[in-house]
């Protein structure tokens, strides 16, 4: 984040406990104005709790929530300049589409006049491509349309932050893809800060400017999708953002850029450290399946291991091999179509060698 970007919201040491359960623990995060930030993690990781504290539905047990530089811990949800798109939309069944969208505007004091409300509602109906649907009843709308109504109902209020709680969870795959693109376009067009909660890594990777990966109530790592993919700090992040092969190892020699580690099988490898490592520390060595090369002959330079092909899955642009090494266990290898056309395919049971560039190896926190 450059210094010119204004912080719109901030968590400072935010903790939330429900009885003995710690839902969120010591969250520290600042959200920049206009960015698309995603909270990513499995269910129960605290991402929804974080969002609900931002919306004002949950009061933090400890720490502070700041909106626009002011502590809003005790500001109730109805007085916060943020709006939420709920997981199951939570549209008012007794109101028409128009009245649902106008709901927020009509809560303002002084109340805006009819003409203003009408004009604003019609403008957002156009933005979400639902022109003419105003008089419809909610139950007459399809799932995708309801989602747009929910979106319109939130953005009509011009919130400082738009909160989205797994908004695509109820849509089918195709519609979800469409809505992802639409949401992203909308976010750029409106310039509103979007904060999304999702457990779908693909969704987070494709839509967000930054992702905040959470696990067990804590923030594990925050970064752009590319940063998280290329330089995960922990094994958890590497496994959650994309897929990877992991090997247990002990640090033999810790340098600032490169670390030498000894694998469980006794091999020495060198790789980039994802965090500050110490000699003798137990770490995790990670390598992405697409960064492993499969060959019939052992390469002259670099690290290689003899393996047996266990399984082969043809995926079109890639072929996925599961191979077994006597010392490292099972390894997943992704071979691009082109290199397979050059070198030919490997059959199940065949002997081969896996090899990798040492820059591709990451030394991660266990």
């Amino acid at each position: 984040m450059s210094a010119a970007v204004r912080t719109i919201a901030e968590f400072r040491g935010l903790t939330k406990t429900f009885g003995p359960v710690v839902a969120a623990s010591d969250l520290n995060l600042s959200i920049a104005e206009g960015e698309f930030l995603s909270f990513l993690g499995p269910s129960g990781c605290g991402k929804t709790t974080a969002l609900r504290m931002l919306a004002g539905f949950e009061a933090p047990t400890e720490g502070e929530v700041l909106l626009d530089g002011e502590v809003v811990n005790h500001v109730e949800a109805h007085n916060r300049p943020v709006n939420m798109v709920f997981q199951h939309y939570a549209l008012f069944p007794h109101l028409s589409v128009f009245d649902n969208i106008a709901y927020g505007l009509r809560q303002r004091r002084p109340q805006p006049d009819r003409a203003t409300v009408k004009q604003k509602v019609e403008k957002v109906l156009e933005i979400v491509r639902l022109e003419g649907f105003g008089p419809r009843r909610i139950w007459e709308m399809s799932g995708g349309q309801q989602q747009r109504v929910a979106l319109a109902r939130a953005i009509v209020n011009e919130p400082k932050i738009l909160l989205l709680d797994e908004p695509m969870a109820a849509l089918d795959r195709k519609l979800r893809k469409e809505m992802q693109i639409e949401l992203q376009t909308l976010q750029r067009r409106l310039g509103i800060t979007f904060v999304l909660v999702t457990h779908d890594q693909e969704e987070a990777l494709s839509m967000s400017d930054r992702i905040c990966v959470m696990n067990g109530g804590r923030i594990v790592q925050v970064g752009t999708p590319r940063e998280l993919y290329d330089n995960p700090r922990t094994r958890y992040v590497a496994g959650f953002v994309g897929t990877s092969n992991f090997f247990d190892a002990v640090v033999a020699e810790a340098g600032p850029d490169h670390v030498a580690a000894r694998l469980a099988g006794g091999q020495h490898v060198r790789g980039k450290p994802g965090f500050a490592v110490k000699t003798g520390q137990e770490v995790c060595v990670s390598i992405r399946p697409e960064q492993i090369a499969l060959s019939r002959e052992a390469p002259d330079a670099g690290m290689s291991e003899p393996v047996t092909i266990l399984n082969r899955i043809f995926l079109g642009e890639h072929t996925e091999y599961l191979v077994r090494s006597g010392t490292l266990g099972d390894i997943l290898v992704l071979v691009p179509r082109q290199s397979e056309l050059n070198a030919g395919t490997f059959n199940v049971g065949e002997e081969a060698f896996v090899s990798w560039d040492e820059n591709a190896l990451l030394i991660l926190e266990q």
Binding site: F57, A77, M84, A90, F92, R137, R153
Partner: protein
């Protein structure tokens, strides 16, 4: 044709039930209402409007019923709504079942016995005695319209609580969060979201209590002390004491007619209030 015959067969049990239990008795009462009283009571066939011309003689009973039944319904609604709201929205789930059972517990005792209990509470040694201790003398509660009102509200309260509880319990609590998120205060959320969405329960409860109150006779007899009587009491008197079946039938038909009109108007009003949804039903 075959389809038609099969439908006929399937509809038969319900059809016969309706015919025997509802239509036939009504037809009998309808025919009786145009007859005359025999010398020793009972019914003598005739075709006269005399009985209907006599209706003003029972005007007080109609007046009491038509005032106290709607009033009782309204009072029951005003008391039941907060109770149902508490049970459905505020109360912790741990206590909810227990409290709900407590609402039904009075039904385990006969309404007759419970009404007698109210005679004591409202009678000379009950509330009036307590009021006397703080210096308010000469308060008469028993055998007044007020006593009857208390009795019917007490007796029918559970019937109002349950439908309202169900509709509030069904209410998606996320809607309340959504309302709050959109800038609505809790009070405005109640008026704009909670109340409109509980209309089906309110409508059902009111209908149930109102219809039953229109035919009530036990509570007015006990707590009204023969001074505050309903159409139901008039019917008991006409059929069992004075054995004037013809006149009794005319009174009964008139009550049925009044109820039909009121309930139809009420349903029209409610369905407009609740939008075009068809989820407003009796149960």
């Amino acid at each position: 044709m075959r389809q038609l015959r099969r439908n006929g067969v399937l509809l038969a049990p319900a059809g016969i039930w309706l015919l025997v239990m509802l239509v036939l008795p009504l037809v009998v009462v309808f025919i009786f209402s145009f007859g005359e009283r025999g010398a020793a009571g009972g019914y003598v066939p005739a075709l006269t409007l005399e009985q209907y011309a006599n209706l003003p003689a029972r005007w007080t009973a109609f007046k009491n019923t038509l005032i106290l039944a709607p009033l009782g319904t309204l009072a029951a609604l005003l008391i039941a709504y907060p109770l149902a709201y508490y049970l459905a929205v505020r109360c912790s789930p741990k206590w909810r079942t227990t409290l709900l059972i407590l609402v039904i517990v009075p039904f385990w005792t006969s309404i007759l016995i419970r009404s007698y209990a109210w005679i004591f509470i409202l009678g000379g040694r009950g509330i009036p005695a307590l009021l006397e201790m703080v210096g308010i003398d000469e308060v008469r509660l028993i055998n007044t319209p007020f006593a009857v009102l208390v009795g019917i509200v007490y007796g029918y309260l559970p019937l109002m609580v349950f439908p309202i509880f169900v509709s509030l319990d069904k209410l998606d609590k996320r809607l309340l969060e959504a309302s709050s998120d959109l800038g609505s205060t809790p009070l405005r959320t109640f008026w704009q979201v909670t109340l409109p969405l509980s209309v089906p329960g309110v409508a059902t409860g009111c209908m149930l209590v109102f219809i039953l109150l229109m035919g009530e006779f036990l509570i007015p007899a006990i707590l009204g002390g023969g001074k505050v009587f309903f159409v139901g009491n008039a019917l008991v008197d006409l059929f069992l004491q004075s054995r004037n079946w013809a006149f009794g039938s005319a009174v009964a038909m008139t009550l049925v007619f009044i109820m039909l009109v009121t309930v139809t108007v009420y349903m029209k009003f409610i369905s407009r209030l609740g939008g075009q949804r068809d989820d407003i039903s009796l149960m």
